[in-house]
Symmetry: C2
């Protein structure tokens, strides 16, 4: 990986040194947090310190946080809890992650797909009408989209959901650690984070739940996490998550600066004929999704990879295969769904990384265009 440039943080962020250090320390310390001896008590303390740091990243308190195995499990627990609470339908944003879409589909409840506009923003008027007509709803709206970085109007949606007596579930996996997140201001019932999207290790996440809701256990056993999630706690993972959350919170201002580097790249892409998706919406500062008609997503990714620049074609959640982007399709641009790519920076990305990405992309595009001209 020498000399390579990693701009695929939305798939998995580079692990922050603070997080790697916390993981290593926990691995060296041994101990089951349920054990009463010194090692057990130290492991328990590490978990609870991390829980408080994780909560603080989204302005919540430690008691709101249930630690789980990742964002997907967090979404599953939040959705299952709302279903157990007796909602009669699930409203799912059109650009939600598969973890939400597939879990809703498997619930057995009616699922309404909540459309987004051309900028990728969920339509609040549609939601108001939907809530007025249907049974009590679980409403799932992500805080920021994984492909476009588009930031949804969650607080406004929550107000509508609250008024209708529904359950607001927020997938904040991509937002947490990249923009300020205030759990109280969002007024969500449940909110999900994943450590590995913000510089912590893979395999650990959190479900933040408001005091007014009850979580339904999905995994039975030893009764850990106050009975909400059995299984020996992933102490190194949790410690790494806590350290990453702490560092991410301190780093928010420096991450915001990347918006300028991102926008400079966008201008170069647009000058070459590309189109930025979600440009009209508020977005994460480090995410750029663009489409280049005639230049297939996987070709773009492979050409950049050969030059040592790692980006992504849509979400990296299946078997490594590139499919048309559901997100771009939902934004009303099926014409761009197979020619869009995502560039996403993070805590270790530099202005030079973004510039180099642009250089390499423009070279690849020029070669590709020349080949097409020769063929034509």
């Amino acid at each position: 990986m020498n000399e390579s440039i990693y701009l695929d943080y939305n798939a998995s962020a580079r692990v922050r040194p603070e997080a790697a250090g916390a993981v290593a320390a926990a691995l060296a310390a041994v101990g089951n947090p349920s054990s009463v001896h010194a090692a057990g008590r130290a492991a328990r303390a590490a978990v609870e310190t991390a829980r408080a740091d994780i909560a603080a990243l989204v302005g919540a308190v430690a008691g709101d946080v249930t630690l789980v195995g990742g964002g997907t499990e967090g979404n599953a627990l939040g959705i299952a809890s709302a279903v157990a609470d007796g909602v009669g339908q699930i409203v799912v944003g059109a650009t939600e992650h598969e973890a939400v879409v597939e879990t809703a589909a498997a619930s057995g409840l009616p699922v309404e797909v909540w459309p987004v506009n051309g900028a990728g923003l969920a339509d609040l008027d549609w939601l108001a009408r939907c809530l007025a007509q249907g049974p009590r709803a679980l409403v799932c709206l992500m805080l920021a989209n994984n492909e476009t970085g588009v930031i949804q109007p969650v607080a406004q949606a929550s107000a509508l959901v609250r008024e209708a007596g529904g359950w607001m579930h927020v997938d904040a996996v991509q937002a947490a650690g990249k923009i300020p997140v205030d759990f109280a201001a969002l007024d969500a019932d449940t909110l999900v984070m994943a450590a590995h999207k913000l510089g912590g290790p893979q395999g650990v996440g959190a479900l933040v739940a408001h005091g007014r809701v009850t979580l339904t256990r999905q995994v039975h056993g030893g009764g850990q996490e106050r009975g909400r999630r059995s299984g020996t706690e992933n102490v190194p993972g949790i410690a790494g998550f806590g350290a990453a959350a702490l560092a991410a919170l301190a780093d928010l201002p420096s991450l915001a600066i990347q918006a300028a580097w991102r926008d400079a790249l966008a201008v170069r892409i647009e000058d070459a004929g590309g189109e930025v998706l979600g440009k009209a919406a508020p977005r994460l500062p480090q995410t750029l999704c663009f489409a280049m008609p005639g230049f297939a997503s996987d070709l773009q990714v492979m050409n950049l990879d050969l030059a040592g620049v790692m980006i992504s074609a849509g979400a990296a959640c299946s078997s490594g295969k590139v499919k048309p982007s559901r997100i771009v399709e939902a934004m009303g641009r099926p014409d761009l769904a197979t020619v869009s790519v995502r560039v996403s920076g993070g805590w270790a990305s530099t202005e030079q990384d973004w510039k180099r990405c642009g250089d390499v992309w423009l070279e690849a595009h020029e070669r590709h265009a020349a080949r097409r001209r020769r063929v034509a």
Copy 2:
């Protein structure tokens, strides 16, 4: 933790240096295994290498292994898959772990508790009668018990279950990495391992499934693990698990030696009036469960902890509270259920550790006995 002696490996093993190194390497490497670029492919390779090493520890092949978030989740996935396959009852060994007991109880199916004898061994005649009478059964029998180390006659039970057309589920969380385990010889349908019991990190486990059975997905989303378990793979945890499995396999002979050290301690305890539980059964080489009438479990644990020796009172799976041991009760000795403790060594334990544990326990017991004599 300086100078302290850790003899609570059955709660959570000391992490092997090979495992800590593999975790650190994965944390430094970044990458989502579903990403198609160089970092993604390297992460995928790390996962698949580890999967093969994990499979090899129990004589299985990589394709049999589904990676999950720990032993509890592995048990949940195995049991849910059998339930989805249409079994009509669940037969649960009397000394199974809470992860199995509670999951079976939550299934909605009739649950039969399969008794053990005074040595802690499951009664095969009882099983034969049960299978002859009831509907098609999921039978859950652990390979080795967490408290006593008693090794169950799983292969014999499997033969009965196979004959009856049932589903054999084996919790091998405590056995894997401590004794040779042969998935084919056990002829189980599903078998569970947890990394942190054999020197890997917490938060990762495996469900090994025979080709004749189908696993039912419990977590929906991106379709990882061939659709059986969605969510970004815990690459560092999996890499650590693989390294630990490889080291544990090579280490089996050296762990077997601990049986002599364990038995030397047992003699000292018996000489002081204590009783070894499961003594008449085959047991894990590094586990000793004993009871001392009149000397409460938690007092034993606390006294040893003060002297820097960490052991356990029963299972360490609830909120750090010591309850009467279900296991000892199931063995027909309720009189010993509040005075039993577990000493469990592992890859880093020395003969000196076991001796020192005996010295400290005998001192503590003598002080305790003297106090009782004064009070009487």
